[in-house]
């Protein structure tokens, strides 16, 4: 796949297509495809630096400004989604550890904690954290 992109080292074609591909792959969370695109982008950038055609590439990027902007926005939203999901996963992990250490009679049938164990979870106060 990298070679395919290297064959298209005409800045306008490669850069614009790459931005769109990256956005689509990010939406579908295709990490493998994105990793390929990142390598291609690095190759492309290196080629541009060596050929001195960065100004030309930048001019071509102008036509893809909307696509670049969209990629940035999707990145921003993705990051926020990732933060939420990561924190919830860590919460689950921590709860799993709590349950593992809890006395058996404190664990209810549905896997939750009975009242005796709930002292661990004090009601939050406004301004906590």
């Amino acid at each position: 796949m990298t070679m395919e992109w290297q064959d298209q080292l005409r800045p306008g074609v490669a850069l614009k297509g790459l931005v769109k591909e990256a956005t689509d792959a990010l939406i579908s969370m295709d990490a493998e495809r994105l990793a390929e695109l990142a390598r291609c982008c690095a190759d492309l950038n290196r080629e541009l630096q060596e050929s001195g055609k960065t100004a030309e590439a930048a001019m071509e990027l102008r036509s893809a400004a909307g696509d670049v902007k969209l990629l940035g926005r999707v990145l921003f939203e993705t990051r926020a989604n990732l933060v939420v999901l990561t924190r919830l996963h860590l919460l689950r992990l921590q709860r799993g550890k709590l349950l593992a250490f809890a006395p058996q009679d404190c664990v209810s049938e549905d896997g939750g904690m009975k009242n005796r164990w709930k002292f661990m979870e004090r009601p939050c106060e406004y301004g906590d954290n």
């Binding site: 630096q49 670049v68 926005r73 993705t78 926020a80 919460l91």
Partner: protein
Amino acid sequence: MATINSAMSLITGALDADQAALNVTSNNVANASNESYTREVPNWAENQPIYVNGVSYGQGVTVTGGVSQRDLVLNQRLQQQQQLGASSSSLLTALTSIENNFTPASGTSTSGDIGTDITNFFDSYTQLESSPTSNSLRQQVLSSATQLAGDISGAANSLNAQQSSLDQSAATVAVQVNAITASLAQVNAQIQSLSPTSDAGTLEDERQSDLSQLSQLIGINEITTEQNGMSITTTGGQLLVSEGSSFPITTGSVNGVTHFFVNGTDITSALASGGGQLGGLLTARDQSIPTTLAALDQLAYGIETQVNTVNNAGTDLDGDNGNAGNIFNAPTQVTGSAAAMSVVMTDPNKIAAAGSGLGTGDDSNAVTAANLGTSAIINGETPSNYYSNLVSTLGAAVSETTTQNSALTASVSQLQTQINSLSGVSLDDEASNLEEFQRSYQAASQVFTILNSVMASALNLGVETAVS
């Protein structure tokens, strides 16, 4: 004129800010067992306590278990994105309609093309210079003036009609919101009565369904209360549901425009920025259309007053000096000038092509009128440039909203995929899934960083890469 570099900087800045947010989050991870963690999630964080009849709501959030809490938080995140998506979607629809007012009609007709009308009108004066007494050229000045006035007033009237339509749509949405909040209050009461300490099952599903529908209509915050209860506020903090009670949004006319109230408080402006369909409708009604109309009014007022002034300063074909009369109706104020713009002159002989005190064959006043087209008579800009900026600004708003809408749609898609893939999986599978998500983000960030690097290299070479 913005450059692509400045656009990049904006995006990069946003990512930097988000990086800072992530750093904060990593500190919060240590407190993950603290049930107040939901307070830290953007947009529903740091809610001030709400007091209803002296009772405080918004504190003492109860965690009902890891899995259900995860579902609640994910649903809230999804709802938050849906609220913003619904807002940008309805705003985009409205902005596209507004923009269509300034799109030339198809075919060869110039109807609706105000930019061409402006050029044609001042060009007609240029042509009159060559033969100041020509009746056909004088008729041409009046007909091009009529075309210009008709298209400007047509666009203004269309904008006013769209504003009325949005007003009605917003009022309809408020009725829908009230129906859902009443339903939510009822479900809340049932849940608190039947399942105060355990999963409410289908009732909880019903509540989530209501919340999802509500999120499409209006920006909301959810606050879990004791005994599986829930309070719902607007994003501006106005209470809509407090456990088993709902507080309907009422409407009233203020200066001919529908305003929205809860318990007597006018929440219209807060709703506009709050998200949901209602937010988008009100943003278009109260910001986008008034801004566009104001610019159109300024354009109409400037052309009318300046052209009338010049005509009354010259000599017409009947020999009247300084008393030729107005070509356009004389506006008394800027506001409303566009909608009321019309041509009042019917006799082409009354066009004052000659200068003051000069013979009727003179063209100096026609030259002065023609020069208005290239003079900075509208807020420091020529009429054509002013109009061009108006259309460009509108186009930029449509483009920006389109991007925002696409990004939010993408985000909702990601969240739904994650929610589906995380449902009922083991912690190990969940970790693997998140790792894939993280890798996707990092690789995409790398792509973006390199693009930024290309731009930086180009700028170091002194290449200006302006984007419209």
